[in-house]
Amino acid sequence: MEKVAIIGVGQSAFVRGYPGSIRELAFEGFKEAVEDAKVSVGDIDASIICSAPEYDKQRSPSGVFAEYLGLIPQPTCYLESLCSSTSTGLRMAYSLVKSGLHDVVAVLGFQKMSEISSAESQERMGRGADIQWESPFGTMMPAYYAMFAKAHMEKYGTTLDDLALIRVKAATYGPINEKALFRKPVTLEMFNDPAHFMSGPVASPLRVGDCCANADGSSCLIVATEEKAKALSKQPVWILGLGAASASVNMAGRDLITGLAVARQASEQAYKMAGVTPKDIDVAEVHDCFTISEILAYEDLGFAKPGEGRELISSKETYKEGSIPVNVDGGLLSKGHPIGATGGSQIRTIVLQLRGDAGKMQVKDPGVGLVHNIGGVGLYGNVTILGR
């Protein structure tokens, strides 16, 4: 069977208030990926532009970007699945390449969130939920995930300190990731100091320190056929497994509130396609939009049994030196979360890890890596397994 590779990865720094337009922001991630792949722009046969809608004045950014990035007259299109847009983009690129329609496809994710206020952003994020039946109650992302946190704490005894330890881990790696928005350490004491901003309530039981922050950023993946990859790249990273699922947008349609069904379904598909089990994963990136999300991910991906995710963090098994390093690039909590760019950044990290190019973040000799990227409140789930 013909394999499909990622031959180049790039991302901009994730920042607050990017001093440029969205096409210029897109260029940052694109330039790095094309240079990393050591291809010329003309080698790229098609592009898929990914973001969450409604942050930009520009409608249909794909055509604008294709022109700015030198990707015309090749076909381009816009694609979204909220926060998992770039993972969905990779899935589509895989299909385009695997089908033989194209040899080399660029997947570009971006988001410039700073053009609107934080409250307006929350309103848009809330409208990523069910606008007919839920948004009129005044919903927002932290409150939804807080409901999962509350239920998990009640059922399994997960504590506020367990959640805080996820942020402490993220902040261990933020300082060594030059692309991350938050580069300062965070301690458990900050969460337990009522005067510290990290401990301020957002949506019970989640506190400021439990939440990732909006950011501006772009990311890019260059995907190629096996033949092109072998011709163009010294270190192709192979797409071994892809899984994707969707769920009821309305919480009333969810049977599971102590985990994300989409993550369980997507990971099952990806493990099966790759022919691996959770034990075979050497390094992982999971969608830690909130601290609870990472604990749910441990369990949904099978790194821990349901209810036992807290033990992985308290025993530091998900640190760089542990048995299953997770988010050792700082995760969304340290990097910031420019929605449409996030999946590409996660995939970039795993590609760099598998190539041994992750610098200070490098874990020891990983062979198989996993990316867990969620859109909305478990509305869309994507799991990607990569190997050398």
């Binding site: 929350q122 007919q132 009129p136 109650f137 005044g138 927002m140 409150a143 009640e154 039981p205 009333a252």
Partner: protein, 144 residues
């Protein structure tokens, strides 16, 4: 001269801020005005829907009828918000919640007058219509 067609936009009355005005289940608002929270049930295959739907995905029938949400459900989870989206700031603090009635679940808000220390997961709750200060309508969960 033809008469201008009137738009049935009753649904704009749902919640503090409604993002939908026209839906085939606009009667939901009339029921709220009468103090009733209603779901729908497919008359052809028996599927029960909350929130109410005009169309059954199970058998593709449009033959749905209203039923009144009654009795008690159990609190699955909730969260009390310290910040709110644009347009909802005046409602703070409030809690969003999910209640399980067995054959359907309902997403909404906890009644504002329940003291924090009396809210427990698994507690029995009933769903009641609530008139908001701005004249809009929603429903909230009260202790049953």
């Amino acid at each position: 001269m033809s008469k201008k067609k009137e738009i049935d936009d009753r649904f704009k009355k749902f919640g503090t801020v409604s993002f939908t005005s026209v839906t085939k289940v606009n009667d939901f608002i009339d029921f709220l005005e009468k103090g009733k929270v209603m779901g729908t049930c497919c008359q052809d295959c028996g599927m029960v829907f909350f929130p109410p739907r005009a169309d059954c995905y199970h058998c593709l029938s449009r033959n749905v009828e209203w039923f009144e949400v009654s009795g008690k459900g159990k609190l699955v989870s909730y969260s009390k918000l310290k910040y709110a989206p644009v347009g909802f700031e005046g409602d703070l603090p409030y809690s969003i919640a999910l209640v399980d009635y067995g054959d359907h679940k309902i997403f909404g808000r906890l009644a504002g007058d329940i003291p924090d220390d009396e809210v427990k997961l698994g507690m029995e709750m009933k769903t009641v219509v609530n008139k908001l200060p701005n004249g809009q309508l929603n429903y909230v969960f009260e202790k049953a």
